[in-house]
């Protein structure tokens, strides 16, 4: 599965490079605007290690930022799921704050917190957080009436059970949203680094941009895409593992649950 995803990435990246070369040679653009394949390879070899560590640095921030945003989204989403006054207020606040672009707020964060780890992490988490929050609120605020009715009617419903039912019934959606949000976390971190940070692949892209060095930018894009593909695949595998542990196979279920039937 991981191999297939990486092959897909290589195909798309190669297609992009071919298109770029098509533009270069059809419009007869100079190497200064779009470098040739040889220059891209030479640049790639010379900066590979440096950019590799930069990308890993960015990915670590993105992973931590995403973990924080997942925690926050679930905390707020679960709190805001009810149609009470507080729940409605939290939902309205979440929607309104989301309307404000985080990138526009980012300079304030850098001014207040400096250009280090914390600012990058905060911006990554915030960019990843809001779309995630909207999905979690959407899932948690939607009752699964056909399942919940019994528990409500018999007075057995409590908030943990409600959350469990809704999460279980929407496990596929949640896994997809979380895996998809990894792209946002990575993008958030790169944007933060691009704006003001002094580390990471976004910072390297900014320097390459100032030098108008497209070869370096292409190498950076290659590494970002590669790392993101691997990370997304890992997240989806975790999601599948969680889902399969909940939806036990028949054989497994028969073994594990024979004790319960014996009781009956």
């Amino acid at each position: 599965m991981l191999g297939r995803r990486i092959i897909q990435f290589f195909l798309i990246f190669t297609l992009g490079i071919i298109c770029l070369m098509g533009v270069k040679y059809s419009l007869n653009l100079s190497d200064y605007v779009i470098p040739g394949p040889r220059e891209i390879l030479t640049t790639g070899r010379s900066i590979f290690h440096e950019y590799l560590f930069d990308t890993m640095n960015t990915l670590i921030i993105a992973v931590i930022g995403q973990a924080i945003s997942i925690f926050m989204a679930f905390f707020v989403g679960i709190t805001a799921r009810q149609s009470t006054w507080a729940g409605t207020l939290i939902r309205a606040a979440a929607y309104n704050i989301q309307a404000y672009p985080i990138v526009a707020v980012a300079p304030i964060i850098f001014i207040l917190l400096g250009d280090g780890f914390t600012s990058r992490l905060l911006i990554a988490a915030m960019i990843c957080y809001f779309p995630l929050l909207l999905s979690v609120i959407g899932i948690m605020a939607e009752p699964v009436v056909d399942i919940e009715h019994f528990y409500v009617a018999t007075g057995r419903m409590h908030w943990q059970l409600e959350v469990k039912i809704r999460a279980f019934e929407n496990m596929g959606k949640l896994t997809t949203v979380i895996a998809g949000s990894s792209t946002l976390a990575m993008a958030g971190t790169i944007v933060a680094e691009f704006i003001a940070a002094n580390q990471g692949i976004g910072h390297s892209i900014r320097i390459a941009l100032y030098q108008s060095d497209l070869a370096r930018i292409l190498v950076a894009l290659f590494l970002i895409g590669l790392f993101l593909s691997i990370y997304q695949e890992i997240l989806e595998s975790i999601g599948k593992r969680i889902t399969s542990s909940l939806f036990l196979t028949k054989e497994c279920r028969l073994n594990k649950m024979s004790r319960n039937s014996a009781e009956l």
Partner: protein, 248 residues
């Protein structure tokens, strides 16, 4: 597994006063709708037993059931619960969570002291062979049976069964209904079904909904109230069927 009369008494609640549910001039329409779902609807359940709400689709049976169960507010008229304290409403599209087997779910949903009742019902409902399955692995009829079973394990005075035995074969349905009537003889049931023969055979009072614009909106018939020790005759069944069909 046959049970003695003494055992059966242990797993039913104590008898209650015969003053049950009374509906007077009930009326309801959905918010922002001009059309009444039902209006001037009056009937009463003056004794425990297996009663029925019967009528064509769309006449308001489910809405009335949900009004009685307290799931719909904002209705007009008077609803007097009398001695009935706990009302449960169950319908045929309910599902069990998919994270556990039926055995585990039913065990978890059984109130203390009702394990014997659970075993009895599992046996009668024909669910023993599928206890290791999850809900999604069952047929529609099995799903409806297990859903009804878990409701029957709870404490209730009145249970409204809205198409609760849909997709269940006739033989199993008969066995289940007779067992329910035997075990819960002192509770109130309101059975909603579109199967006229079934309603005529097994129900005591049959409240037939006549549809919008007709007065009175319901007519009450006496059903055959078939029990294990009181079988019904074909001539009586034909008579009740004719009466109900003419009422519409």
């Amino acid at each position: 597994m046959a049970k003695s009369k003494m055992d059966l008494k242990n797993i039913t609640i104590k008898g209650k006063s015969p003053l049950g549910l009374t509906c007077r001039q009930l009326e309801y329409r959905y918010p922002e709708s001009d059309e009444w779902v039902f209006k001037h609807l009056s009937f009463s359940l003056d004794r425990p037993g297996f009663h029925s709400l019967f009528g064509p689709s769309g006449v308001g049976k489910t809405s009335l059931a949900r009004v009685i169960a307290g799931e719909i507010k904002g209705f007009g008229g008077e609803l007097d619960q009398g001695t009935i304290k706990t009302i449960l409403y169950t319908y045929n599209q309910e599902r069990l969570p998919g994270w556990s087997s039926l055995a585990r779910h039913l065990t978890g949903m059984t109130p203390p002291g009702k394990d014997e009742l659970r075993r009895e019902l599992v046996e009668t409902f024909g669910l023993k062979p599928v206890l290791n399955h999850t809900f999604a692995q069952l047929s529609l009829g099995q799903q409806n049976r297990v859903n009804l079973l878990r409701y029957l394990l709870q404490d209730f005075d009145l249970m409204i069964m809205d198409e609760s035995l849909a997709n269940v074969d006739e033989r199993s349905k008969e066995t289940i209904l007779l067992k329910i009537k035997e075990l819960f003889y002192d509770r109130y049931f309101l059975y909603i079904s579109h199967n006229l023969i079934e309603v005529a055979r097994f129900c005591d009072r049959i409240f037939v909904f006549r549809g919008k614009g007709k007065s009175p909106q319901t007519i009450t018939f006496k059903g055959l109230d078939t029990r294990m020790n009181k079988l019904s005759r074909k001539e009586d069944l034909d008579r009740v069927l004719l009466e109900i069909m003419n009422a519409g």
